[in-house]
């Protein structure tokens, strides 16, 4: 009845799917961080309009399911005359979603910094930019690392949803072969295990980084 041998036959396809999951998630987490850092700055801006826009952006993306965001980007862009491959739509959706979460995490990190650190930077003549790059960001990155790693894991797991717009990542591969071979249990267990390997690796890497970056 239960036969993982079937899965073994298709290991190549599954591993390709895993690879696709891996790099799409990686790119999305990366862009999510860049956009998130910018949104975080906007959220902390003095200008109330900028701050308001950032608040709406964060609230909208954190308050709705990523599945809906994915569909909106996938279906709405063509309506606006923009035709993009589904992989790109997937990366855009995941990046934007992740950016909202990362922006909030980073904001918390900035709030935690003792004010005196910045006063010292001012006293030594640091520009705002220098103070951001050399004093704030390294500490914020270190302090928020565990939360950022959690978000990365969420993105990896959520990337399974891009199977719904026909990106052939791990989940899609598992769906395809489970219907052609009538072996859904085996394929979904295999997919689950592969996701587990990926998320566990990321969480271990995060813990390693945390230890390395500790300044105690």
């Amino acid at each position: 009845m239960f036969d993982l041998g079937v899965v073994w036959e298709y290991r190549g396809a599954l591993l390709n799917g895993l690879w696709m999951t891996f790099w799409i998630s990686g790119i999305s987490i990366f862009f999510g961080f860049i956009i998130g850092a910018l949104i975080c700055q906007a959220r902390r801006a003095e200008n109330p309009v900028i701050r308001g826009l950032a608040t709406v952006y964060i609230s909208a993306l954190r308050g709705t399911p990523i599945l809906i965001q994915l569909a909106i980007i996938f279906f709405f862009l063509p309506l606006a005359g923009i035709n993009i491959p589904s992989i790109l739509a997937a990366i855009i959706a995941l990046s934007l979603n992740s950016s909202a979460f990362q922006a909030e995490i980073l904001r918390g990190g900035f709030q935690m910094l003792p004010k005196g650190q910045l006063e010292a930077a001012w006293d030594f003549g640091f520009s705002r930019w220098q103070s951001l790059i050399h004093v704030e960001l390294p500490q914020v990155a270190r302090n928020t690392l565990p939360a950022l790693v959690n978000d990365a894991i969420d993105i990896i797991k959520n990337s399974s949803l891009i199977s719904t717009i026909a990106v052939t990542e791990l989940m899609r591969v598992a769906q395809q072969y489970s219907s052609t071979t009538y072996r859904p249990i085996e394929f979904f267990i295999a997919a689950g295990l592969l996701y587990l390997v990926l998320t566990t690796a990321v969480s271990q890497a995060g813990q390693y980084l945390e230890r390395r970056l500790s300044y105690r």
Partner: protein, 219 residues
């Protein structure tokens, strides 16, 4: 944008919203009960039970909900059980959420000052009295905001159930989309409705939090 669509599809969409709330409510109950059970198992001190606990947490938190839903969906028939989509939806979402709730409970219990338990024992409380009258209420007070946040995630995750055609609101809106060839109306409806539910919950969480901090500060 064609708002008359909402006149035609209003009742179906509303039904979908009710189903979303129903499914989430069911999953919430399962999540809370199973989560508490898991937490107790994990804290029992028995090594084998603890390994089981960690395994459960790792599996359910380390894999996508979609994979879990499919496994419940196909797993039922595989072992000879027939579930409806709704049952699969509530069950799958509940099993998944239980893993998160269990960890939240665990951290809640851990943050109760030890002296409180000792005081209860000194006063002659039995173990179960201590648990129900001292530990449990304290733990809940501490983790309530986190619980609400996890419930918000639960509501958002429930959209995934549309993949196995549980008749909740995403499914209803998707049907509206395919039947009318409209895209903007159903998806904006979805976005707005989910946002409204989660926003309301997060406001509630903030209220609870300020109340609780007042209570803790007052102590």
């Amino acid at each position: 944008m064609d708002l008359t669509l909402f006149v035609t599809y209003g009742p179906q969409l509303l039904k979908g919203v009710m189903f979303t709330l129903y499914v989430c409510g069911g999953a919430l109950v399962i999540g809370l009960l199973l989560g508490m059970l898991l937490c107790i198992i994990g804290r029992s001190g028995n090594r084998a039970l603890y390994v089981f606990y960690r395994l459960y947490i790792t599996l359910f938190r380390g894999t996508p909900l979609l994979v879990q839903i499919y496994l419940v969906f196909y797993g039922g028939p595989f072992v000879g059980l027939e579930f409806s989509e709704i049952q699969v939806g509530i069950g799958g979402l509940g099993l998944y959420t239980a893993a998160y709730f269990a960890e939240i409970f665990r951290s809640g219990f851990q943050s109760i000052p030890k002296g409180q338990i000792e005081a209860a024992t000194d006063l002659g409380f039995s173990r179960s009295q201590t648990f129900f009258h001292v530990s449990l209420p304290q733990m809940f007070a501490g983790v309530l905001p986190t619980l609400v946040n996890q419930t918000i995630l639960l509501v958002k995750e429930s959209a995934i159930l549309s993949v196995i055609t549980v008749p909740e609101m995403t499914t209803a809106a998707t049907r509206m989309s395919t039947e009318t060839f409209s895209v903007i109306e159903p998806y904006l409806f979805l976005g707005f409705t989910y946002w409204l539910i989660t926003f309301t919950l997060s406001r509630a969480a903030r209220r609870v939090e300020t109340r609780l901090t007042a209570y803790i500060a007052a102590r």
